[in-house]
């Protein structure tokens, strides 16, 4: 054992040490320490993977499909995916050199950023957003530039406000629609404005469309289907959400050949190929599960309308989410911060929701509630939340400090 002193900050790389732990992670520890919690904090479907997919995977194990595949992924899967994307989104990608199968959409985001960024180059991250975007930019040696969006604008991008953030080091914008956590999506007009902006500023767009199939009142429009956008879009998606396949870790990236080639270079040295079994499962998902998607979407849709009615009824203003399976609930009229309210709600009523600030500072004043949960759970959670909100409003009227309900130790770390 060496007694050599560690450099200041320990032996972990400085840029990793400096990364803040995920806000979700902190809350997760708090929730798991509380028994009998009703959780609306879950970012994955409450359906199991459709049986036909699981059964096909069992069959593929029996057939001995246990070896590596091509670095790009199974050609059968890439061909099927190419057909699916063209049919459903009018986005045409060549299975030979424009599609890469990845370990979930998360790997695709990581690869895309590492392939694009020189040290210190900037990426615009539109918030509120999925927790991994900004840290992934940092880990790729880049600099995330946060652009907040707001409920009053329907969480859409104000391009006039975005323009001053663009520098000569700006390489890309990361967008996610339908959005986790807000449930907002982009219509054709939004996308056309974004496309024009990206062309003018010569930017690449990482378009995370993982919730595309969970779009409720309109049809999802893929950015890559807009004229001239395929050349500057990295379309990222996967099977986790619409096919209820989170644990299979299977996703993909579609982009022009030069970008895919660069991404494959990193992927082949770090991952080799996405898990073979999951690739076969994904193939089955594309070929056989369109009806399963429809039926799961119908169920999410009913619960979506239910939960939005309920939140508004207990006095928390909630816009109807257009996609994904989250309600982004304004708690501004409670006078509490997101973290205070989430910690208090967990302590007093054993309901877990995620503070909006986990998705960016502009998420302050909001909580994210997932409606990918049974009606029984949703009803129970709403009863408890209704009780909680009534109590804090009552206390506020009496002039009592609304935070006295939970001891200091239960505050968010």
């Amino acid at each position: 054992m060496s007694n050599r002193r560690m450099p200041a900050g320990g032996r972990i790389a400085r840029h990793v040490s400096a990364l803040p732990p995920s806000g979700i992670r902190k809350f997760f520890d708090l929730v798991t320490a509380t028994p009998d919690v009703v959780s609306l904090g879950v970012g994955e479907p409450d359906f199991l993977t459709p049986w036909t997919i699981r059964e096909q995977a069992i069959y593929e194990i029996e057939r001995g499909r246990t070896t590596y595949t091509s670095n790009h992924g199974l050609i059968e899967l890439r061909r099927a995916l190419s057909g699916w994307l063209e049919k459903r989104y009018d986005a045409a990608y060549n299975p030979a050199d424009e599609i890469l199968i990845t370990v979930g959409a998360s790997e695709a985001i990581d690869l895309a950023l590492r392939a694009l960024l020189n040290p210190g180059e900037e990426v615009i991250v539109i918030q509120p957003c999925y927790v991994s975007y900004a840290p992934t930019v940092v880990l790729a040696g880049g600099k995330p530039v946060i652009f907040p969006t707001h409920q009053k604008d329907g969480f859409r991008i104000d391009f006039g406000a975005l323009l001053p953030l663009i520098t000569r080091r700006t390489r890309a914008i990361i967008i996610n629609y339908p959005n986790n956590p807000t449930g907002a999506t982009f219509n054709r007009n939004d996308l056309e404005q974004l496309a024009a902006f990206a062309c003018r500023q010569d930017l690449v767009i990482l378009s995370d469309e993982i919730y595309a199939e969970l779009t409720y009142d309109a049809r999802h429009i893929s950015l890559a289907s807009l004229p001239g956008m395929k050349e500057r879009t990295i379309l990222i998606s996967g099977f986790s959400k619409a096919h209820a396949m989170t644990g299979w870790r299977i996703g993909y990236a579609c982009a022009p050949p030069d970008i895919i080639t660069a991404m494959v270079k990193i992927h082949q040295y770090t991952i080799m190929c996405a898990p073979t079994l999951s690739q076969y499962a994904a193939l089955e998902a594309i070929n056989e599960c369109d009806d399963d998607i429809v039926s799961m979407r119908e169920q999410y849709d009913m619960r979506r309308q239910f939960i939005v009615r309920e939140f508004n009824a207990i006095g928390l203003k909630t816009l109807m989410p257009e996609g994904a399976f989250y309600a982004f609930v304004s708690i501004q009229n409670t006078g509490m911060s997101s973290e205070e309210l989430c910690a208090g709600l967990l302590h007093d009523e054993k309901v877990a929701v995620v503070p909006g600030t986990a998705f960016g500072a502009c998420g302050e004043g909001f909580i994210r509630a997932s409606y990918a949960s049974s009606y029984e759970n949703l009803e129970l959670a709403m009863e408890r939340m209704g009780r909680y909100v009534a109590r804090i409003k009552h206390d506020a009227h009496k002039g009592a400090p609304c935070r006295h309900n939970h001891p200091h130790g239960m505050r968010m770390p």
């Binding site: 798991t32 879950v42 199991l48 999925y130 009913m302 239910f306």
Partner: protein, 160 residues
């Protein structure tokens, strides 16, 4: 609204009109009226519990019987069907395509009772040509519900 109500009741017949009203966002009185009408028109025929027979002390035996019949002129299969389904032992009856005509689902107290029913009641009907009896050994799934271990997703409590 009718469609939504049926959808919910098919999954859980015990939901009250108030619960349904809350889930679909409609007035309770309206939901109750629609349910009443669905019952009156026999769109909703009955509400029953699905019971796992293995966990009940009372012994029952179930059998599926394939029946081939000679259809009657004029009334076809319906008259014969009525003669079969009116027996209380018959809990389901289907007219089917293929080599056989009816599938009769029987529930009785013992194998002897089923044998008695088939040989004395069913096979002796004048239009019945042949029967094939299959005793049920174990029930795995009933009306879309798996009777033993129900699967559920074991999700983490909070994920991004």
């Amino acid at each position: 609204m009718k469609h939504k109500i049926l959808h919910l009741l098919r999954d859980n017949a015990r939901l009250s009109a108030a619960q349904i009203a809350r889930r679909i966002g409609a007035p309770k009185s309206e939901v109750a009226a629609v349910i009443k009408e669905l019952e009156r028109s026999r769109t909703i025929v009955a509400y029953k519990a699905i019971i796992n027979p293995e966990l009940v002390d009372e012994q029952t035996v179930e059998a599926v019987i394939e029946v081939k019949v000679r259809p009657k002129r004029g009334t076809g299969f319906d008259d014969i069907a009525r003669r079969i389904y009116n027996f209380p032992e018959v809990h389901s009856l289907y007219l089917i395509s293929g080599g056989m005509d009816f599938l009769v689902f029987l529930e009785a107290k013992s194998m002897k009772d089923i044998a008695h029913f088939v040989t004395e009641k069913l096979a002796t009907l004048e239009d019945v040509q042949s029967t094939g009896t299959h005793f049920a050994l174990k029930k795995y799934k009933k009306d879309g519900v798996v009777l033993h271990e129900a699967e559920s997703a074991s999700r983490l409590a909070v994920t991004p």
